[in-house]
């Protein structure tokens, strides 16, 4: 710790223990902890404690205080934990703190969650350190050879587990969960042997107390080395699964299925728990005994049915949880195999139909589900997400048809809320892109083509919706589907016949900026595939047909909102990469006009994107830097490589230098950084070939440097005037771009981030450093 900080520390500690002094906000204390963490991680900290007795004094006084302030208490506990993590520090602290263990016990129940959690963690640290050394190895479960401090903590945990008060039980379970999560030494096995009977006793209570914490503990133990060696644990887990209510058992089941090695029977049981609610839905939706459903053990038991019937919130909660868990599980490599894809699909479709009111159930449970789920947005969102994930697998054609039908229902329904509609579009996209290609050719299969025929009129209507979220989701969908299928003849044919491209063009003038931004992206994408024709509507019959480029450029120069302008820059960059026809027509003209518009933009992201575009242009002229952009199509590749001089001339003509140099002194750091990278790239490319011309050879250098200095001083309004390539190269060579890059790489607040500044600020807020004006950020 540097001397200045050491000097400030006693004053700060005094402030923290003084109940009359206002304490800086939590953020400052968090930063202080971060700093102590870096200090303690840097090396042995015993000396730090010895040299700064104010720290031990702080811990001691805070723990002794009658009514400590929660945030200071929490801070002190965590600080103690930080130091206690090192053995010598622990022993040093133990002298003064061991009497404080009782205080820490009581702090577990503190009304402040920060304090309670910190107290629990501190107990774990103390226990872990106490068990180091003498008890290392395999101590007896009875604990007769355990250090006194550890004995005391374990006895406290035991007492808490026996308690009838749920908060006590929760505290004990949380301490154990942290212990098994962090400590993997052999003694933890002894600990589990000693405590597992008490944990098992909890399962026999009705209702099971602190079920959430219990699940956390069991999973924590199962993941620790204890899990792999204790067969009893699997039995406990199986027992817990069957004792907990369906909603409580869900997280445990998912946790079990994520475990690497656990008995197959347990996995089957856990999977059954997750599938129960969906099995119930399938049963409720069935008109007649249908095709085979879920595996044994997931047949919609009576407890799940009872949960469904108990209340709307219980039913919705259980279904959403099951859907979310199964969605997570599907993405995992260790997901159960065989994966019951078909019944899951059927269940997802059934849920969506219940929510939509289009299911016609025959059973009582079905009727109840219908009433509860009708119009329930929460379940609709969860089910659509789940259905989207299921698109990774396949299914029988008849089921896939049902999936598309239900998706179309949602896309069409006027009652779909904007969020549900967005999810429906996302799920539709995933199913469309996952659908198989026709075997004979590379075009879309007939089912997909049929679906497209129904989908596009719906999309068209959504683009006319008075609800902007609907228009936006529609445009996003169109962009995505075009990106993937822009080359498919069937898609192109259907799209061109659908009026959708014209509507998309219309939305470039939407009153909502998000929609304009999405329309920019969509038209850009359509145009890349030659699917965009400039619209002529009844609204603007007088407007001359102009190219999309001109229209987007107009948005870039005049739109009052940032999102559409950023979107335009992305489209232009993509066009440049792809060699879009409008761009190829007059490449230099294109780049020059875009850079000119971008350079005057007030939004730094637009300027940064301008540099991105400039870089693409440079790469196309000079060749790529390594594997920077492997997919970029280098336009001039077909033509013979231009000489450096020609390239530099071209860069001058499009005023790329002026743009980049101006950006170098941009007040927004990311812009300056990007510009620096670009100029470094240019310098690296140009220098080997730039031998003949030496710095200072051109008289213009002086004026260029003078202009740069003025820019640096903030006078950005000054033009640079005509530039000679030689002068630019000379200036680049003379500039310390590497140094500048290093400077820029540091965060802008690196000065203010120093611990010294933090201590000063905290003291300043309480007025201890009168001379230092408060400079809070």
């Amino acid at each position: 710790m540097d001397p200045e900080c050491s000097r400030l520390l006693p004053a700060l500690c005094a402030v923290l223990v003084d109940p009359r002094q206002p304490v800086a906000d939590d953020t400052c204390l968090e930063k202080l902890l971060d700093w102590f963490k870096t200090v303690t991680e840097a090396g042995p900290s015993l000396l730090l404690l010895q040299e700064n007795p104010c720290l031990v004094e702080l811990l001691f006084r805070v723990l002794k205080a009658h009514d400590p302030r929660p945030r200071v208490l929490s801070f002190s506990l965590r600080l103690a934990g930080l130091f206690a993590a090192q053995e010598d520090c622990f022993q040093y602290l133990q002298v003064s703190l061991s009497r404080a263990v009782d205080t820490i016990f009581s702090l577990q129940g503190d009304s402040s969650l920060f304090v309670a959690s910190a107290a629990g963690q501190l107990l774990v640290h103390i226990l872990a350190l106490a068990m180091r050394g003498p008890a290392e190895g395999h101590p007896s479960p009875q604990g007769c050879d355990w250090p006194a401090c550890a004995q005391k903590i374990v006895c406290h945990v035991e007492d808490s587990l026996r308690s009838t008060a749920t908060p006590q039980v929760t505290q004990a379970l949380n301490v154990l969960t942290t212990t098994f999560g962090h400590c993997h030494s052999p003694w933890t096995q002894g600990l589990w042997v000693r405590l597992s009977p008490l944990v098992a006793c909890l399962l026999e209570k009705d209702p099971i107390p602190a079920s959430h914490s219990l699940v956390d503990l069991l999973l924590s133990v199962a993941r620790s080395p204890v899990g792999s060696s204790d067969c009893g644990l699997w039995e406990t887990l199986a027992q817990t699964l069957s004792h907990l209510s369906p909603t409580q058992a869900g997280p445990l089941a998912l946790g079990i299925l994520k475990l690497q090695d656990c008995p197959q029977a347990l996995k089957t049981q856990a999977f059954g728990v997750l599938l129960q609610p969906l099995a119930c839905v399938l049963k409720a939706a069935a008109q007649a005994p249908g095709p085979p459903g879920f595996p044994e053990g997931a047949t919609g038991d009576s407890i799940t049915v009872d949960t469904f019937l108990s209340s709307k919130s219980a039913c919705v909660g259980l279904l959403c949880q099951a859907l979310a868990h199964l969605e997570l599980l599907q993405l995992l490599p260790q997901r159960p195999s065989p994966w019951p894809q078909a019944p899951l699909l059927r269940a997802a479709v059934a849920i969506l139909r219940f929510c939509h009111g289009s299911a016609a159930p025959t059973s009582d449970v079905g009727g109840h589900l219908c009433a509860v789920l009708a119009g329930c947005v929460r379940v609709q969102r969860a089910a659509l997400d789940f259905l989207g994930t299921l698109s990774q697998g396949t299914g029988p054609q008849e089921l896939v048809t049902q999936v598309f039908a239900v998706l179309l229902e949602y896309l069409t329904s006027p009652d779909s809320s904007p969020m549900v509609l967005k999810k429906a579009f996302q799920a539709t996209l995933r199913w469309l892109l996952g659908s198989p290609k026709a075997p004979s050719c590379c075009d879309l299969d007939p089912h997909t083509q049929l679906f497209l025929g129904e989908l596009l009129p719906v999309l068209r209507k959504r683009l006319c919706s008075p609800c902007w979220e609907a228009r936006d989701s529609g445009l996003e969908f169109l962009t995505q589907v075009t990106r993937h299928w822009g080359g498919q003849a069937a898609f192109r044919h259907a799209l061109l016949a659908s009026e959708v491209p014209e509507l998309t063009g219309q939305l470039l003038r939407d009153p909502e900026s998000y929609v304009r931004a999405s329309a920019v992206t969509a038209t850009g994408q359509l145009s890349s595939w030659g699917l965009y024709a400039t619209p002529t509507g009844p609204e603007h019959p007088e407007v001359q047909q102009e190219s999309l480029f001109t229209e987007l450029l107009h948005i870039l120069s005049t739109d009052s909102e940032g999102f559409p302008r950023r979107a335009v820059m992305h489209v232009f960059t993509q066009w440049l990469k792809d060699g879009h026809a409008d761009v190829a027509e007059d490449l230099e003209q294109f780049v020059a006009r875009v850079l000119q518009a971008a350079s005057q933009d007030l939004d730094w992201e637009v300027r940064a994107q301008g540099l991105e575009l400039a870089l693409v242009f440079l790469e196309q002229l000079l060749g790529q830097p390594g594997s920077r952009c492997p997919y970029a199509v280098a336009l001039p590749e077909a033509a013979p490589p231009a000489t450096l001089a020609q390239v530099l001339q071209a860069l001058c003509r499009v005023q790329l230098f002026e743009f980049a140099l101006r950006a170098l002194f941009d007040c927004d750091r990311p812009v300056a950084q990007k510009s620096c990278d670009l100029l470094l790239f240019l310098k690296a490319k140009a220098t080997p070939c730039g031998g003949p011309q030496e710095a200072g050879a051109s008289p213009d250098v002086v004026s260029v440097e003078a202009a740069l200095q003025r820019w640096q001083a903030g006078e950005q309004g000054q033009p640079l005037g005509e530039l000679e390539p030689e002068a630019v190269m000379a200036v680049l060579r003379s500039m310390d771009l590497e140094g500048l890059r290093g400077m820029l790489a540091k965060s802008s607040d690196h000065m203010e981030k120093s611990p010294q500044s933090l201590l000063q600020d905290m003291l300043a807020t309480v007025g201890v450093l009168g001379e230092n004006e408060a400079d809070c950020y």
């Binding site: 009111g357 009727g367 009433a371 006027p414 209507k461 006319c464 008075p466 909502e512």
Partner: protein
């Protein structure tokens, strides 16, 4: 009488009334019975497989047989749609009572009636069909004519004169105003949030409260329906003994917000393709909502250059009325009334020439008419009004679209006489009235002891029998009624409030019989007039016979006020207290009775005077002296008993 609505679905059985000579309609073939009998072919015409009555359209009136409407004292109107049958009742049944309604209800109701009368009267039709109504004939007709109920009571439209006369019987009321009805009950209109001036009613006496909830809306925070009226007053509905619930949404599955979205999208798509949009509508109500949505939407959809026409004989008045009823608007809109900015945006649409309104298609409209365009016009039944003309004009092109937004009529039935039709038909019913979820919340909030509602609300819709969410679910279950059913409301009037005159109250001497409870006997005359009860000081004279009324001094026969007081009977004092048996026996002995025996019974004691062969039965609330025809002895004993009791 609660509300006075007119069932206009009867008009769907009639052929449309075209504004101009229409060869298609006039050349429809007559309908003949299966056996070829063609006696009805003048009255019934066939069009695309449907049979229609070729006559002036007729309306189905409220039930008039069940009760004698001349005995109805009061009609309470809840909104302008629910008063359309008023002229039939007030002008033709001997009705002499009063109708209560809010001012906007009356004004807009007048517009609706005026429009209706105008639509029908401007195309006079000579023919009036009646043969088909014969019960024996009607049985032979195809559906839906065969199943039409009470066709004999169907009536032609009223005249403007009848409308004016009916409206003159309306007493205007304001929200929360308390109106005494014959001293028996008080009625109060409350804001119901559904339409301009719409109300629910509270009917209450001192001890009973009945709420009548009809046509209410809770859409308060809706983005698209920035509810323009005062929000529904729910708090005043609390503590009801009975809540009569009616006028729920007719389309419980259609969310108004989604429907407006559909409306706008379909409108934009049609116009963009060069087609025209026809919106059959009433001249007030949903049209305000649609215009407000379109006001926000047309710019975003690039439709600013498309003309919107509103054609109705009362279009101008309707648009103007809505701007001036400040006290009936929600707070937001109220503040705008006092600003240069109009409360409804359609004023701006009119100022900027985007919305134009005309009394009919004749005159200025034909000069201004430009296509593609959007036309709002009536009548939503498509049987009369300017809409008939546009249906004929645009029906043949698939570029055009008709968008139904009023939920009152089945759109397929409305379209039937226009078939075959090339134009697109979109059904976007917009009904902002309460749906079942909202009703369930309302009932939880208001907690009436009993709910009374039409039978239809207590079961899922017939087409969706599994949707148990689409019915009223309350505890105790709602009492339902069906047409012409007589229902006894589940409460009895047990108490009446009685006023005590100050002089009488002054004379009372309460006695505390328990801490906090005092009693006083009151001797007074109960005076009841106009269902109000007053206790007055009795005429002087104590408990003796009543004083003879003073003879009139003059020879006039006119009664004086004191004559109103009825003759009082001899008033006996009231007794209280209990008889201690031992002391009573001692007293008897003191007065010479001997051989006294006391028996305990379940309810008290029996004192036996064996010698006198007399029995005194003393119970908590009664004492009987049973002796054999010895009145002197009985009186003696009675007086002894009375000594132990207090007299008032």
């Amino acid at each position: 009488m609660l509300d006075c609505g007119l069932d206009m679905t009867s008009t769907l059985n009639f052929l449309p009334l075209p504004l101009v000579q229409n060869p298609r309609l006039s050349n429809l073939p007559g309908w003949s019975l299966k056996d070829g009998n063609a006696f009805l072919d003048k009255e019934l015409k066939e069009c695309s497989g449907h049979v229609f009555v070729d006559s002036v359209p007729e309306f189905c009136l409220p039930e008039t047989e069940l009760i004698d409407l001349s005995t109805v004292d009061v009609i309470l109107i809840s909104n302008y749609h629910c008063m359309m049958a008023l002229p039939y009742i007030t002008e033709h049944t001997g009705f002499t009572g009063t109708v209560y309604a809010t001012e906007p209800t009356v004004q807009i109701g007048r517009l609706l009636m005026e429009e209706l009368v105008n639509f029908i009267e401007r195309v006079p039709k000579a023919q009036s069909a009646s043969l088909w109504k014969n019960k024996d004939t009607q049985r032979l007709l195809p559906s839906p004519l065969k199943d039409a109920v009470e066709v004999s009571t169907w009536r032609r439209c009223y005249t403007m004169q009848e409308v004016n006369s009916a409206l003159s019987k309306i007493q205007l009321v304001g929200y929360s105003q308390k109106i005494e009805l014959f001293g028996a009950v008080q009625v109060t209109p409350l804001s119901s949030g559904y339409a301009l001036g719409s109300s629910n009613w509270i009917i209450q006496s001192h001890y009973e409260k009945v709420s009548y909830v009809s046509g209410s809306s809770l859409l308060t925070t809706h983005p698209q329906f920035s509810v323009v009226f005062q929000p529904m007053d729910q708090a005043s509905l609390k503590n009801s003994d009975v809540l009569i619930l009616t006028g729920l949404t007719q389309i419980p599955t259609a969310n108004p917000d989604g429907m407006v979205g559909e409306f706008c999208s379909n409108l934009a798509l049609t116009v963009r393709n060069g087609g025209n949009v026809l919106v059959p509508c009433y001249p007030s109500g949903v049209i305000y909502d649609l215009l407000e949505c379109l006001y926000q939407y047309i710019d975003s959809a690039g439709l600013s250059s498309i003309p919107f026409y509103f054609i109705s004989p009362v279009a101008n008045s309707s648009l103007e009325f809505s701007q001036i009823f400040a006290e009936w608007l929600c707070h937001n809109k109220q503040t705008k009334v006092y600003l240069p900015e109009p409360p409804f945006p359609h004023a701006e649409l009119i100022q900027t020439n985007k919305l134009k309104h005309y009394p009919s298609i004749h005159g200025d409209f034909s000069n201004d008419f430009r296509q593609p365009c959007v036309v709002f016009t009536g009548h939503p039944s498509l049987r009369f009004g300017d809409v008939v003309h546009f249906m004929e004009l645009w029906g043949k092109s698939s570029l055009n679209t008709v968008i139904f937004t009023e939920p009152d009529f089945s759109y397929l039935e409305a379209l039937a006489p226009y078939q075959p039709l090339a134009m697109k038909c979109i059904y976007c019913p917009i009904d902002t009235r309460l749906n079942f979820i909202q009703v369930s919340k309302l009932l939880k909030e208001v907690q009436p002891l009993h709910v009374v509602c039409p039978e239809q609300y207590t079961q899922p819709p017939p087409a969706q029998s599994h949707r148990v969410d689409l019915m009223i679910d309350c505890q105790p279950p709602a009492m339902s009624y069906r047409r012409a059913e007589v229902l006894a409301l589940p409460f009895r009037r047990r108490y009446e409030k009685i006023e005590i005159m100050p002089e009488l109250a002054d004379s009372l001497v309460p006695m505390e019989i328990k801490p906090g409870i005092s009693l006083a006997t009151v001797s007074a005359v109960l005076h009841t007039k106009d269902n109000k009860h007053v206790l007055q000081v009795p005429p002087r004279g104590g408990w003796g016979p009543p004083p003879r009324p003073a003879q009139p001094t003059g020879g006039k026969k006119r009664k004086r006020p004191s004559d109103d007081i009825p003759d009082c009977k001899v008033l006996k004092p009231l007794l209280s207290g209990s008889i201690p048996v031992e002391q009573f026996v001692q007293t008897l002995e003191k007065h010479g009775f001997s051989d006294i025996k006391v028996e305990d019974t379940a309810k008290g004691h029996i004192v036996l005077l064996q010698e006198a062969e007399t029995l005194i039965q003393i119970e908590e609330d009664s004492t009987h002296i049973i002796c054999d025809n010895d009145e002197v002895l009985r009186v003696r004993l009675r007086d002894l008993v009375l000594k132990f009791l207090q007299k008032f």
